[in-house]
Symmetry: C2
Subunit: 200 residues, 2 copies
């Protein structure tokens, strides 16, 4: 039998299947049984790699949700020459998001809304990611402000908080409306708001 064992890959497959299931059903409604069917594994395998469903969920938060958000929405701004212009460009690019993603919503936002009030461990980890995102926006605004691109009276920290909030708000509302059009219209308004922070 060519049953090669690769524990790291197995763990990764579990994480990916879990991320998908959690994205679709939410964490609490996510079924371990579904994840097992999807991966073709058994309970023995899963509980060998993760001590409990909660630990699995926290690993998904850190290693999937967090990592993906960093590489998609944080990294592009880190070393941009004109940070705020890069933000506007980034928001514009998001309007090409595919329909299923809009229907299911932002994984970070979904988990925050579901888990924050009921589990402190989830909340603190999700908050770490959220804070990182807000800090990146704040830093981008501040750098552009020092470069004279953003108006001096702008409160960078508050604006960054608002941008993150409005961003997640747009995805959340579009998710309910199941409307790509609404999503684009809303993100376009957000884009205008950010542009309004620029001089002239």
């Amino acid at each position: 039998m060519d049953t090669t064992r690769d524990p790291d890959l197995t763990r990764q497959r579990i994480l990916e299947a879990s991320a998908k299931e959690i994205h679709r059903q939410g964490f609490q409604a996510a079924s371990i049984a579904n994840i097992l069917v999807d991966t073709g594994l058994t309970k023995g395998a899963l509980y060998h790699h993760f001590p409990s469903k909660k630990d699995l969920g926290l690993a998904v938060v850190d290693e999937m949700v967090g990592v993906r958000l960093i590489e998609r929405n944080i990294a592009p701004l880190r070393e941009a020459a004109h940070p705020v212009l890069a933000m506007i460009d980034l928001i514009g690019r998001k309007q090409a998001q595919d329909e299923e993603y809009i229907r299911l919503g932002c994984p970070l936002n979904n988990l925050m809304q579901e888990m924050s009030p009921v589990d402190e461990d989830f909340r603190s980890r999700l908050n770490r990611i959220l804070a990182m995102w807000q800090d990146t926006f704040e830093d981008a605004l501040r750098r552009s402000q020092m470069a004279g691109e953003v108006r001096g009276e702008v409160n960078c920290r508050a604006a960054a908080l608002f941008i993150v909030s409005a961003w997640e708000g747009c995805t959340g509302i579009a998710k309910n409306m199941q409307s790509v059009e609404s999503y684009r219209a809303c993100m376009s308004q957000l884009q205008s708001y950010v542009a309004s922070l620029l001089k002239n």
Copy 2:
């Protein structure tokens, strides 16, 4: 025994207990057993008034979540003399929201995020409420625009969509941060955005 029967009151008590439980746990995680303990009733009573948990949830959406949102966030704008000023005032008043409400988030937004992708009946009813809210904002903007208070180039429909989205985004983010301060800062930014739609 003074066991007076009042079916309407009983039904209302079930709805109120259910709204509370759903607000705390979400719909799917909401426990019928908890609702029964809270009301002091039994399964027979609950399933006499509501054929299923889902029907109970839908009734909570229509009769509790929807009604409360209308009287708190829609009615104050309907016949305001200066609609946009009333909006700014309304947003300002929300900053006095108590801590528990911020921790648990907006019931409408919570249910949208949880239920929209997994149940079409919930989604359509929640969407009705959401559309009513957006329409009210749009109408307020348009009326103020015709009165010459709002700038002519403002796209009222898109702006209304953005305001609703940002509003729910603020409550959602503040819920995760568990921070009254962040909530106020965020809503204050939203207030500034709405003010920026005014002339001068």
